[in-house]
Amino acid sequence: MTTTTTAPATTTVLDASGVTMRFGGLTAVRDVDLTVNTGEIVGLIGPNGAGKTTFFNCLTGLYVPTEGKVAYKGTVLPPKPHLVTQAGIARTFQNIRLFANMTVLENVLVGRHTRTKEGLWSALLRLPGFRRAEETSRERAMELLEFTGLAAKADHLARNLPYGEQRKLEIARALASEPGLLLLDEPTAGMNPQETRAAEELIFAIRDKGIAVLVIEHDIRFIMNLCDRVAVLVQGEKIVEGPAEVVQADERVIAAYLGTPFEGEPGAAEAAEVEAAEAHSTTEGDDK
C-alpha cells in the first residue's frame, strides 16, 4: 500500500465502463469509461450540469446506472452505497452532507462503520471486545482528525464548523472507511486561496498514503497542480482524457467552456487570451 507515483507496478483501482444514466428523457451521463490506477490523482472537469456528480453517484451506488458497470480492483460492484463503501470506495459530497448534529469525532466514527463489527448484543452486554473496539475506533478517528487538522475541534458539533473545515471533515469521515479510492466532489468549492492550497497538500498526503483519488473540480489551476490525468465531461459524454496540459489546450474543451467560436475566426485569439489570463492568475497565486 505504499505505492508512489513513480512505482512501476500500478494496478487498476477503478474501472468504470459504459456508464450511462438516464433520467426520463434526459441522458445525464452517456457511455462513460474511466479508469483510475493506484497512486493516481485523476481530475474530472466539465461545465455545470455536465453530469459529473451524477457520474459519481453512479460509481457509488446512489444511482443505479441505466447501463454499464463499475469494477473496483477487478470485482464488479453491486449498486448499493453501503456495499460500495464496504468494498473500498469512499466519497465526499458537493453540497456538504455532514451529520450536522453530531460532533466532529462522532462523524468520523460513523465513517468507520464498515471497518468495525460490534453489533447490538456486543453493545448491550458490553462484551469484552466492545470496549477495545471502541478504543481503537476512537484512536483511529483522532489520528484522522490530526491528519486533517481538526483534532482541536473534536467535540464541536459539525454544524458549527466553518465551511472550509466542514469540507475537511467530510474528507476525514470518508477516509475513516479506509478506502482504496477516494472520490472528491468539488473539495475546494467556497474555499479561499490559502485553504485551497492546504487542500492540495492534503490530497497529496492522501495519495501518499496509497489511496487513489478521483476529484471533480472547477478550479483549473487546482486541477493542473494536482492531477496526473484529467477527463473532461461535456453534456454527459467524456470528450477528452489525458495529461492536464494536453487537456487544457484541447480545442473541444475550450469550446465546451466558452462556447463554439464564431465562424472559427476569433477562436484562436480568445483561447490565447484565456491562456494568458490563466498564466497570470497562476503567478498571482504563487505570489501569495
Binding site: L62, T85, S122, D155, N160
Partner: protein, 614 residues
C-alpha cells in the same frame, strides 16, 4: 513592607463604561423594590398560617389558624422560595449559591407563582362557596402580600441588559416583550469543583427533592390542590431554572452519571413506600409502564428518527401474549407459563410483529412511514376485535379481551396481596410498581448502551442524513429494522407486566388516540414533550402526561383539546422539549456563537448520544 506604586491607582480609575440599561418595568428604587418584595412574600407566608375560609366545605380544611393546610401549603412553599431568592440578592453569605445564574428573574417568577396559586385559591373558594364573602382575612393577607411581592419583583433591575433597539410602537406589545425580557437570565458560570462526596450528596438531595415533589403531586386528593400544585410547580421549576440551579445540577449529573442513575433508581424505589393508598401507587405503576414504553419509542423516534404512529400496538402484542399464557380462565390457550417464560413470549411476539411490519414499511421515508405505521396500529386493534370466534377464529375473545389475569407469584412472593416491608405496607400496585421498575431499569440500560455504541451512532447518522449514512457504509434498511425491532421488543416487555397490572387486556386499550395513556399519540407526545434522544425526557414527559389527565378528570371532555393547545405552546416556546440534549438545544436556538465545549477531557463514553439525558 512594600512601597506603594502609583500604578495601582491609575488602573483603578479606568474609563467608566456606561452600564447597559437594566431598567425594571415598575420604576422603583432598587432598595425599595427589594424591601417590598421581602415584605410582600413574608406577608404572604404569614397569611398561610391564618384561616382562609370559614367552612370545611372547601376541600383541604383552610379554616384552621396556626396550621397551614391544602392550598395554603403551596402558597407557603412559593413564598418561602421567593423570600430565599430575594434574600440571596442581598448577597447574604449562606444564600448566594441559590442564584448562580439569574438573580432577579427567579424572584419575579416565584412571586408570580405565589400570586397565581393564591389567586387561584381565592378564586376557587369564592366560586365554589358562592362569593368573596367566604374569604377570611388570612386569604386577603396572603393575596395582598403576593401582589406586593410581584410589584416589588417587577421593580428589581432585569438580569439581562436591554437591547437598546427601537421600542415596539404598540405599548402593550412592548410591555409584553419587556416582561418576557425581565424573565430571562444569563447562564450560570462554571461551578467550582467540590469534593466528590459533596457533589454526590447534592445529586442525592436533588433527586430526593424531585421524588418528594412528585410524590406530593400524586398524593393530592382533590383537583383544586392538584391545579395549585401544577401552578406552583411550573413557576417554581422555571424560577429554579432561571436561577441556574438546574444547569448546575445537570453539570453534576453529567459528571457522575452512574451515581445519578443509582440515585434516580433509589428515589424511584422509595416512591411506593410514600404511598399508603393503593390508588396512588397504581398511578405510579401505570406511569412507569407508560414511561418505559415511551423510552422504547425513543429508540425508534429519537435515535433512528423513524416516526412511528402505531407504536402502542407493540405494547398490545406483548400484553396479549402474556395474557394468553397467563393461565386466565378466559384465555383461549389455557396454559400457564411461568412469568419469565411469559415475558420472553411477549417480547418475542412483539419482536416478530415488529420485524413483520418493519420489513415492508421501512423502505418508505418520512411521512409515508408515519401513515403506514398509523395504519398498522389500527389494524392490530381491529384484528384483536375480530378474532372473536364470529368474524374470525376465536383467539382473543374479541372486544371482551382476556379478563381475570391472575396475579403473579415469584419466589413465593404474591404480587396480589399487600406485604409489610420495613414497617410500611406495600400494596398490590406497589408490588407491581417495583416489578415494573426493574423492567424500566432494563430499558434504560438498553437505551443507554445501544445509544453509546457503533449501532447508536449509525441510527443517529440515519436520522441526520440517510443518504450520507448509506454512503458511509451503513446498511440503512438493516439498521432501521433493528431499531424498529428493538423498540417493539421493549414495548412488548412492558406489555407483559401491563397485562397483570390491569387484570385484563382488551383491544380498546391500544388505540391511536384516547383519553387514557398509553396510546400512540400520547406516547409520541411524551417523547417530544420530554425531549427526543434523552433518557430522562420521555420519563418526565410520560409522568406529566399521565398525571395531569388522571388528576383532572373533570376536564376529561376537553382533554384532547387542552392536550393539543399544550403541545402547540410547547413547540412554540420550547421545541427541543423539557429536557434538551446538547444537540437539540443548539439546533433550535441559534445563538450565533460557536459551541465551545469546556476545555476538559470528556468523560469516557462521552461520544455517545444521550449526553445531556442523565
Amino acid at each position: 513592607m512594600t512601597t506603594e506604586t502609583p500604578m495601582n491607582k491609575t488602573t483603578d480609575t479606568a474609563t467608566p463604561v456606561t452600564p447597559p440599561p437594566t431598567t425594571p418595568l415598575v420604576p422603583l428604587p432598587h432598595p425599595a423594590a427589594r424591601a417590598l418584595t421581602v415584605a410582600g412574600s413574608a406577608l404572604a407566608l404569614i397569611g398561610t398560617f391564618l384561616a382562609w375560609t370559614w367552612t370545611k366545605e372547601f376541600p383541604g380544611n383552610l379554616t384552621v389558624t396556626g396550621y397551614p393546610g391544602g392550598l395554603q401549603v403551596l402558597t407557603l412553599v412559593g413564598a418561602l422560595l421567593t423570600l430565599l431568592f430575594t434574600l440571596s440578592g442581598y448577597d447574604i453569605p449562606g444564600l448566594r449559591w441559590l442564584t448562580p445564574g439569574g438573580k432577579n428573574s427567579p424572584v419575579l417568577l416565584s412571586a408570580l407563582g405565589v400570586l397565581a396559586t393564591t389567586g387561584y385559591a381565592m378564586g376557587a373558594i369564592s366560586y365554589e362557596l358562592g362569593g368573596a364573602v367566604n374569604l377570611e382575612p388570612g386569604a386577603w393577607v396572603s393575596g395582598i402580600g403576593a401582589l406586593a411581592a410581584v410589584i416589588g419583583a417587577l421593580g428589581l433591575p432585569t438580569d439581562q441588559p436591554h437591547d437598546p433597539g427601537d421600542p415596539h410602537p404598540h405599548h402593550w406589545v412592548n410591555l409584553w416583550f419587556r416582561l418576557r425580557h425581565a424573565l430571562s437570565s444569563p447562564e450560570p458560570g462554571r461551578a467550582k469543583d467540590l469534593p466528590a462526596w459533596a457533589e454526590i450528596l447534592i445529586i442525592t438531595g436533588g433527586f430526593g427533592a424531585g421524588l418528594f415533589i412528585f410524590a406530593y403531586g400524586i398524593r393530592t386528593e382533590y383537583s383544586e390542590a392538584f391545579i395549585g400544585f401544577l401552578i406552583i410547580a411550573a413557576f417554581g421549576f422555571s424560577a429554579v431554572n432561571r436561577a441556574g440551579l438546574l444547569k448546575r445540577l445537570s453539570a453534576l449529573t453529567a459528571k457522575h452519571r452512574n451515581v445519578t442513575l443509582a440515585a434516580a433508581f433509589v428515589a424511584a424505589i422509595c416512591f411506593p413506600f410514600t404511598q399508603s393508598n393503593d390508588q396512588f401507587a397504581l398511578i405510579g405503576a401505570n406511569i412507569l409502564i407508560f414511561a418505559t414504553v415511551a423510552l422504547g419509542l425513543n429508540v425508534v423516534v429519537g435515535l433512528a428518527g423513524l416516526l412511528d404512529l402505531g407504536y402502542v400496538a407493540f405494547l398490545g402484542v406483548g400484553a396479549y401474549a402474556a395474557a394468553l399464557v397467563s393461565g386466565s380462565p378466559q384465555s383461549t390457550i389455557g396454559v400457564q407459563f411461568p412469568f419469565w417464560a411469559a415475558v420472553l413470549t411477549g417480547a418475542l411476539a412483539s419482536l416478530i410483529f415488529g420485524v413483520v411490519i418493519g420489513a415492508p414499511t421501512l423502505r418508505l421515508r418520512g411521512d409515508y412511514l408515519a401513515i403506514v405505521t398509523l395504519g398498522f396500529g389500527e389494524i392490530f386493534r381491529i384484528t384483536m376485535n375480530n378474532l372473536n370466534g364470529r368474524s374470525g377464529p376465536d383467539v382473543t375473545n374479541g372486544s371482551n379481551g382476556v379478563p381475570n389475569i391472575p396475579d403473579l407469584e415469584l419466589f413465593g412472593f404474591n404480587f396480589g396481596v399487600p406485604h409489610n416491608v420495613l414497617g410500611t405496607e406495600l400494596t398490590r400496585s406497589g408490588n407491581y410498581y417495583l416489578l415494573m421498575l426493574l423492567f424500566t431499569a432494563v430499558v434504560v440500560m438498553v437505551f443507554r448502551r445501544s445509544a453509546e455504541s457503533r449501532i447508536g451512532r449509525a441510527w443517529v447518522a440515519i436520522r441526520e442524513d440517510e443518504t450520507a449514512a448509506t454512503a458511509m457504509g451503513i446498511n440503512s434498511f438493516r439498521l432501521k429494522l433493528l431499531a424498529f425491532a428493538l423498540g417493539a421488543c421493549l414495548a412488548g416487555l412492558a406489555g407483559t407486566v401491563q397485562a397483570h397490572v390491569s387484570y385484563s387486556v382488551t383491544p380498546e386499550q391500544y388505540q391511536f388516540a384516547g383519553s387514557v395513556p398509553p396510546n400512540s399519540a400520547f406516547l409520541l407526545a411524551a417523547v417530544i414533550l420530554g425531549g427526543m434522544g434523552t433518557i430522562s425526557g420521555p420519563l418526565i414527559g410520560a409522568a406529566l402526561l399521565y398525571l395531569i389527565p388522571a388528576k383532572l378528570q373533570f376536564m376529561a371532555e376537553y382533554q384532547l383539546l387542552l392536550f393539543g393547545i399544550a403541545l402547540m405552546l410547547l413547540m412554540r416556546f420550547r421545541p427541543e422539549g423539557l429536557v434538551a440534549d446538547r444537540r437539540k438545544q443548539l439546533e433550535f436556538h441559534e445563538t450565533g456563537q460557536l459551541d465551545v465545549p469546556e476545555d476538559k477531557p470528556l468523560p469516557e463514553g462521552a461520544t455517545g448520544v444521550a449526553k445531556a439525558g442523565a
